[in-house]
Assembly symmetry: C2
Homo-oligomer: 188 residues x 2
Amino acid sequence: MGRWEPNARGRLEQAALALYSERGFEQTTAAQIAERAGLTERTFFRHYADKREVLFGGAHALEEAFVDALTGAPDTAAPIDAMASTLEAVASFFRERHEFARQRQAVIMANAELRERELIKLASLSSALAATLRRRGVKDSVAALTAEVGIAVFKVGFERWVEDDGKRPLADFLRESLGELTVVASGD
Amino acid sequence: MGRWEPNARGRLEQAALALYSERGFEQTTAAQIAERAGLTERTFFRHYADKREVLFGGAHALEEAFVDALTGAPDTAAPIDAMASTLEAVASFFRERHEFARQRQAVIMANAELRERELIKLASLSSALAATLRRRGVKDSVAALTAEVGIAVFKVGFERWVEDDGKRPLADFLRESLGELTVVASGD
DNA sequence: ACACCGATGACAGTGACTGTCATCGCGTAG
DNA sequence: CTACGCGATGACAGTCACTGTCATCGGTGT
């Protein structure tokens, strides 16, 4: 694979997260990341489209997990119930990754550009979920709203889990958040 | 106010929207926008923090309209009902601006960076709405979810309105979108 | 007329990102 | 074993977004 040490991408990712944590995102140059990874700036941009993307390498896998879970939900389940079981399934994606998620989240929340990137990844995820729902025969508008709402529930639950001590599983927080949605939408 | 012609900000905004529409966002340089507005690149960046921000000058006023409307909702209204009346009130913000909104939306949707900026503006709006709900005594989690859901409803309705011919008022689309939310959350 | 001040211009500088071409190291055909 | 092919990397120049700094303009109040 690589010319010298293997796993260039992984080294860049580790170096970036470390530097972003230590000195902040803006204060870190692409050249510094590359240097710590034993590569050049040019190679950094061959692996990642920009400085932010290095923190979102896992987004594609997460989207896949979401779509797979939603696709596998029982055909008879109502959209919101399919979404509920999807959240349940996806929670395992983050098992054993609480510490990593915490550090990454801290870096992202500390910088506006990174928050922007996070939001568009979630929007892409929402869009993929809506498409999957449509494939299940759900009406366009209902699919879009169910997906948006599902992501909203995920966000709220995920943020609380990250702030927690990592002992309670993510699934707990997602269930809690979903329960609150029902309260909200029914008019309290 | 200005040293030469007045309304430098407005001229920059118009020039930017025109150029972004004509040749695309990425193909437009800040210097070109400034030149068309009869100013220099440096002055462009004095008025707008970056190339994207020039398209989002109205975001602050919109957020204000949202917050004011939500603040003015009857104290007795349930969160989701207060949100409904807020959407109703905010719809007038876009009256007579369908053509402008359409052109702006086309530019934004054609570029990923601009979509990112749009999303973070909406997130900021959601956050402001949640804070306003909390001020009404709504529990944190319910406030956050109601705000997120309210924005989701707004997005869906707004996008349909923009794609429409401009004859039907935005409020119609927002009501329609809100109606669908009820269907979704109740389990279809 | 004069002093003051906010908005603008001029200019240099940093860093993100790109295009291009040479080079390296490994697998493979011969 | 050797020559060749090819993907990954390095080297280097270039564009452009964005910033810091200082001079200058034009209106305002005295």
